[in-house]
Symmetry: C3
């Protein structure tokens, strides 16, 4: 099943994943066979917000396929800075490139881009909204280190309220069998209700808990995320809590021998450096697996036929009022409601208002 | 006939164009056959002034041939910023690259670069002077959409006084049979006298007119350009005129069914978005054709033999006093008069002064 | 003999050089045979300090082998700017790339990077410390122009006190037979004692002298470097001396007919432009040879096996107090003493202190 654009991890099925992962394994096994697979093909990277790591991962992935990359890594450099619309920038880029990777501080930017592009759009992060290829990297790491996704106790630790990466990973994991979620966070940063609702609807087993140390022994995977001071109303709460969620070698002694420690990176203090040399530390391999799964994704996406998009027409009388939605800045965009939920914005997924 | 450097559209003949265009058509027809044509070859891009669109077009063109690109996109990044001369920068770049694309705010910069380069120089814009590859993109679009250049009514609309793109296109079109020019502009921004002289000398048929709407029905091609507020002495004149030269769907109803609407891009308001979905809107395809003709150009230029340039020696006692001429900042450059007109500067084409 | 990382020119032997140079000669003779030698391989360039020329030389070298390059050219763009350690940045980059080129204002940065990289590290300049590939470029130029290194009178002229390039070249040349060194500099900028000690230990023949003109007639090679005004306590001394060390066509008349004039570039005023067209001026060819020898180096380095580095552990109780040493900013780095001299820092080679 072809996926034309990768906007959200929810766009893809387990069968699509299985096929992509098989491709990824073959690339890992015989990289030399792929060194000219994308020769003469070009990837455009539109980073309206800097992200060194994600940008380098896509660049190296495309280059390892023998393809090339052009684009910009911060908006200052772009004609957008000179008042060109996102639509026109995407039309131009799609006339030059075989696929487009886009990152933006605005929610729904990748979805908006897909309305005007003749080539596949890959979402590399749209504000606090989605970052599907990070989730693909996580699934690849789990599959490589454990043989398959499923039948595991996973601890998600840190800021579960704002952690885009965590939400996306949970949405993906809930499609696989027998996952137990240990949601480890301070109460101020516990996972949002709509995520809990999702877990309930999918009959997933989960518990919310504040202590990392007491949970660690049961985990097959510990997925760490950063806790940011500015998320706390009262800094004292932060100072009280921050050490609780720092993983170090001493705490790790309580973990299973085959437990995987994962982190989307970059890490600051939430994982002490004395953990790096522990065989359970998987976060650097995770970055490498992220590159390989992106190779599989780009191999597929850069070989799809060019398709001229139809006119973009509104399908709702409602209006999105989310100030972080791409429709707030690119005002010509048609108002679009989700097919599945006619009251939610198709760009940012927030509820819309009647005008 | 080989062209060593592409500085001005006047450097090339119709037969050179025909050959280049044949190559371009073959690339469009069988792109896969060219995906390794420039493998191991490198293009250097020297952008002393930013130009996202032109830069991306050259980059993607080179990459689609399997070649690579390095360089800078604004002068801050360069050793020129550290006081190196243009001559030394070009010598360095030409020792690393197989061809050089240069863009500069100074008139004659590309011509100056050609004096010190072992490899072909391609002018990607030297101040308000020349931008030959934009003209090649325009000719390619016309040829692709109409089968050939010639036998057409073309309307050139907007700022004809300052529009480098328009001047260059007119110089090129006047080499083809039976073109009628409709020069549509406010009086303040009508085409310069030397262009009218050129049209007369070439026995071209043209009229100057201020109304777009009355002219539209007769046109096979409408070439739109931007009108900038700052070009008007009195802003009120701008406000009075600006809407006259905005093309929208309503006005376009008066145009022929096969009329082509072209624009060098980026467009701001001069073409309303409601025109984009009209089959006559050719400005986005124009960008794509620009990439293909640049592929043909780079394929040719990056395969020429390296030639060490001889010493640069002056051929005149006159001095150029044009403050926008490259000789005004790169003072070591030899004073050079045009072969064809010993009183004009070979860099910027302006009249020189006796010292 | 494989060299895993190239940190200092002292890491390599004459036999390694001979092999590398043979490879370089074959690349120069048959470049087309190498246009896909690195297809699918990627080089990461970590420039924590800008250096257009070195950066472009590595980029074009990798690209001419059919390989690709990604990275950053100033620290602002990096996650390091966001507080990531050098160790983590290197781990990330080495998970994406097949080799890493690093330039930093801190001495020992490349050595530090080698402790955390799975792939070869190439030092492209670490503060005033080392720049080994510049020396490889110099040796290549001498070999190409004279057939071999050795049996020559070389004049090293300018700032011999601070000239990293000169120190590195002397260290390399002293491994070749029968070199006579003419160390031409103002007394304020004469070569450091440890270099003289080295020359004595290696039984090298040298003289220190202040006059360029009197020395010129005896030289087979004149290696020019820049003299910077800020190096002088009293600006008047600079004004008095600067012209003494400017090479121009008039002075060059006194030189042998086959004398080579070399310069690491960029040059400012120390070589007058009237020298550029003299057949003895080798400084532009030098840049081109630098690219070819880097091709040979990258061909070798990007084909080495990936090796996970062991834990980085300290081997000394001493502490480096050099404020320019990488250990001054990356404080987690283990204290390391040189194997050959247990009192010197393995990063910056300065003497360490007992704590």
């Amino acid at each position: 099943m072809d996926v034309r654009h990768l906007i959200s991890i929810e766009d893809v099925s387990v069968s699509w994943w299985d096929e992509l992962y098989r491709q990824c394994c073959d690339i890992i096994a015989r990289p030399g066979d792929y060194s000219l697979s994308c020769s003469g093909r070009v990837l455009a990277t539109l980073f309206f917000e800097p992200s060194t790591r994600t940008n380098f991962s896509f660049q190296s992935a495309m280059m390892r396929l023998g393809g090339s990359v052009f684009g910009f890594s911060e908006p200052g450099a772009t004609s957008t800075a000179k008042g060109e619309t996102l639509a026109d920038t995407v039309r131009m880029m799609s006339s030059y490139a075989d696929a487009i990777v886009i990152r933006s501080p605005y929610e729904g930017a990748a979805m908006a881009a897909s309305l005007y592009s003749e080539v596949p759009i890959i979402n590399a992060g749209d504000g606090g909204h989605f970052h599907p290829t990070q989730t693909l990297a996580d699934l690849t790491t789990i599959s490589q280190k454990r043989g398959a996704v499923g039948n595991l106790n996973i601890g998600l630790c840190g800021d579960l309220l704002n952690g885009r990466t965590v939400h996306s990973l949970v949405l993906a994991l809930s499609k696989f069998p027998n996952i137990n979620y240990f949601l480890i966070s301070p109460r101020e940063l516990s996972i949002p209700d709509y995520m809990l609702t999702h877990l309930k609807n999918q009959n997933q087993k989960y518990i919310e808990i504040t202590s990392l140390e007491s949970t660690l022994p049961q985990l097959d995977i510990l997925y760490m995320t950063r806790i940011q001071r500015e998320r706390f109303a009262d800094p004292k709460d932060y100072d009280r809590l921050k050490n609780v969620y720092i993983l170090n070698r001493r705490k790790l002694m309580a973990a299973k021998e085959e437990c995987l420690v994962m982190h989307p990176l970059p890490r600051l203090d939430e994982i002490a450096r004395d953990v790096d040399d522990d065989p359970r530390a998987a976060y650097f391999e995770q970055a490498r697996y992220g590159m390989f799964i992106r190779m599989a994704l780009l191999l597929q996406m850069t070989h799809l036929e060019r398709v001229a998009p139809g006119p973009a027409v509104s399908n709702t009388a409602l209006r999105c009022t989310n100030p972080k939605c791409i429709t707030a800045t690119e005002t010509y965009l048609p108002a679009l409601a989700r097919e599945s939920d006619r009251e939610s914005c198709a760009y940012c997924d927030k509820k819309m208002l009647t005008i």
